[in-house]
Amino acid sequence: MSQAAALAAGQDAVTPAGRSPRRRGRSLWEPSALLFVGPSVLLALAFLILPMLGTFFYSTQKVSPLTGDTTPLGLENFRTMLGDDTFVRALLNTALFTVITVPLSMALGLALAVLMNSVLPGRKIWRTVVYLPLVISGVSVGLIGTFLYNEVIGVVNKLLVALGASSGIPWQSNGAWAFISVVLVTLWIRVGFSMIIYLASLQAVPPDLYEAAALDGANGWQRFRNVTVPLVGPATFFLIIMNVIYSFQVFDTIFVLTNGGPGNSTEVLGTWAYKVAFGPTRDQGYGAAIGVVIFVLTLVFTIVQWRANRSRDEVA
């Protein structure tokens, strides 16, 4: 048995010849581990932890955009939010966007995964086609969206008119339609992600469970409802967390596709934070405060989901 296999089997590894048994205690601390972990830790520190701490600090300051000088404001930036109509609108839009896109992208992803896991001809090609939008940057997807949804020269409206519609849809000048265009583009990107995670999960479901269910007389829907759905539970939990975080932080696609307009109808927390901090008014303190709100909301949601999921597992 190799050392790795022995470890995996829960046995003590055989001490290599020529090594003192006393050194085994030190093997927990392996200096070469630093070489592997170090770069990631440094990157996370430089680009994640420090900026995050910086955001918390700046959210309580007034920041002069040119000199970078800060003046303490306490919670003033957070108080400003309460009277900021655009912030409230962005918060509601973000919630609405999350409530619509997360279940839809997961349901579609699961449906596609089940399809791809069956005897669909050309499965590999279909998987690639559905997954492809995920590897394109959000900015590119937004740009593709602008070609599709431009209400004067866009492909979608030209197609609608060619199919006999009297006029196109006001994708850019009507708030509700603009919101729908953002949701459609987002689904296009996110469905592939949900599908690939569900697919991996489905492939781990033992086929004999389906056979047993079939023998017990369960029909297709019952097999899906009572076997597939519970067994992909961990994947669902993972996807809810990931998709909710994504939806709370959505920025690039909306920024390029609608820039929050028309009016503020597609403004979300991410775009509003950016506009406040780096737009013409350059209020970086207030922008950071909105960032903190996004962080806290995401954190609270994740904790709630995590606890709910843990208790469910315990009950099971």
Binding site: L66, V152, S167, G263
Partner: protein, 438 residues
């Protein structure tokens, strides 16, 4: 060609108040006269960083001016850093915050106030001759009585129109002077006629108030005799009869279907793209867009230019830029030398002619320029520049103008696409403006 152009421009050239023009020859040894000569500042060769945004023609023109400056000043080299307009402010903020601002950078007149209010720019009182510039334009770079930038060029908005669309609509009264400019009623009439001949997906015109251009709506307000701020610049003056009339009239562009709904103030549909793609019969466009539009239109259709409509007055917007140096720069002496050169007569002429932009020096506004591209279109732009008053310039260069521009963008969008009434809109604007200037 040259003769036609000169004939056309003969009547048009001359910016600013007539009084300002009477003393137009008073160029001194300060900037605005001839190119300075001699070597670099003491201490050996100097490399200056110049952050700007530029179209192709502008970049080529900057390169040409820089090359001739470097030839005259062998000790100084200038490295240009061309960044997209959309990110220039973030770029500069970052450089300033890192304590390493560029030696020179370009600033829109409407953004000057943001920099002067934070006292980060080099005082050019000793380096520029105020009398050499058009007074109304020079005031755009002045704060607390001191100039903090070299007023490099301006651009104004006029109307570009398709000749075939005008023929189809039977429009023949095309104005060539400010006095002949269409009244708002005549403009209404022409737009209605054009709306009848446009096809699906096309519209009568597009106005250039998108995104940061929201302030160009003020042109209509000024035409109606209104003002954004009171003369002391300390309070809102928008909630007035002229303000309501202007909101009403401009909202009508959308209600009457004269403009595409996706060309509102928050949109990313710009007039040059719409005009080139042939979806509009008229485009309100800045002169700086003429080179881009001309290469985009090619021979697809013929087009001309005419002044914007007028109501109680003719007006336009203050487009254009100054070039400035930070006061904490490491090479302020060399930077000042370049700024002086940039606004010298020769350099300004070279730059403006190559880019279809308008000069700020009295000596050049009183003379004829050989614009490189479609010079036959330039007369209306030059005429429009005459309509800018120092009072209007003052309103768009206050330190809080970024906030005012944002308020215009947000509130006008609600009137244009949300159908909010003129009275509610001017009241909301007044409130937002008041909050910003206090």
């Amino acid at each position: 060609m040259s003769l036609n152009r000169r004939q056309l421009l003969a009547g048009g050239l001359g910016l600013g108040a007539a009084a300002g023009l009477s003393a137009c020859s008073g160029l001194t040894s300060k900037a605005g006269s001839s190119a300075p000569s001699g070597g670099a500042s003491a201490g050996g060769p100097v490399e200056l960083t110049f952050v700007n945004w530029s179209g192709d023609e502008e970049k080529a023109a900057f390169d040409a001016v820089i090359a001739s400056f470097q030839q005259a000043n062998p000790g100084i080299t200038i490295k240009t850093d061309t960044v997209p307009y959309a990110s220039v402010q973030t770029n500069l903020d970052t450089r300033f915050q890192a304590g390493n601002p560029p030696d020179l950078f370009r600033v829109s007149y409407i953004d000057m106030g943001q920099y002067t209010s934070q006292d980060v720019l080099l005082d050019l009182s000793a380096s520029l001759d105020a009398n050499a510039f058009e007074p109304g334009l020079f005031s755009a770079v002045v704060a607390n009585g001191k100039p903090y930038g070299a007023p490099h060029q301006i651009d104004t908005t006029a109307i570009l129109y398709r000749k075939d669309a005008f023929e189809a609509a039977g429009i023949t009264n095309i104005p060539t002077t400010l006095e002949e400019a269409w009244t708002w009623e005549q403009f209404t009439d022409a737009s209605n006629k054009l709306a009848k001949v446009t096809k699906s997906g096309q519209s009568a015109f597009i106005y250039d108030w998108q995104s940061a251009g929201a302030y160009r709506w003020l042109t209509w307000l000024f035409e109606a005799g209104g003002a954004l701020l009171t003369p002391d610049l300390k309070a809102a003056a928008i909630d007035s009869d002229a303000g309501r009339k202007t909101v009403d009239f401009t909202s009508g562009f959308f209600k009457n279907g004269w403009v595409a709904k996706n060309s509102s103030v928050k949109s990313t549909t710009y007039p040059d793209a719409a005009f080139q793609s042939g979806t509009v019969a008229m485009a309100f466009a800045g002169s700086f867009l003429v080179p881009t539009i001309n290469s985009g239109v090619k021979q697809k259709f013929e087009y001309g230019a005419m002044p914007q409509p007028r109501d109680v007055a003719a007006s336009t917007d203050l487009g254009g830029n100054a070039v400035v140096a930070p006061k904490s720069g490491k090479n302020t002496e060399a930077a000042t030398k370049f700024l002086q050169y940039l606004v010298s007569e020769d350099a300004m002429r070279t730059y403006c002619q190559a880019t279809n932009q308008l000069p700020t020096l009295k000596s050049l506004t009183a003379s004829q320029l050989d614009f490189a591209i479609r010079p036959d279109l330039m007369a209306p732009f030059v005429l429009q520049a005459k309509t800018l008053t120092p009072e209007q310039v003052a309103q768009v260069t206050v330190p809080q103008f970024a906030n005012l521009n944002l308020a215009l963008q947000n509130e006008l969008e609600k009137a244009f696409l949300g159908g909010r009434s003129a009275a509610d809109t001017t009241a909301a604007l007044a409130e937002a403006v008041q909050k910003a200037v206090q």
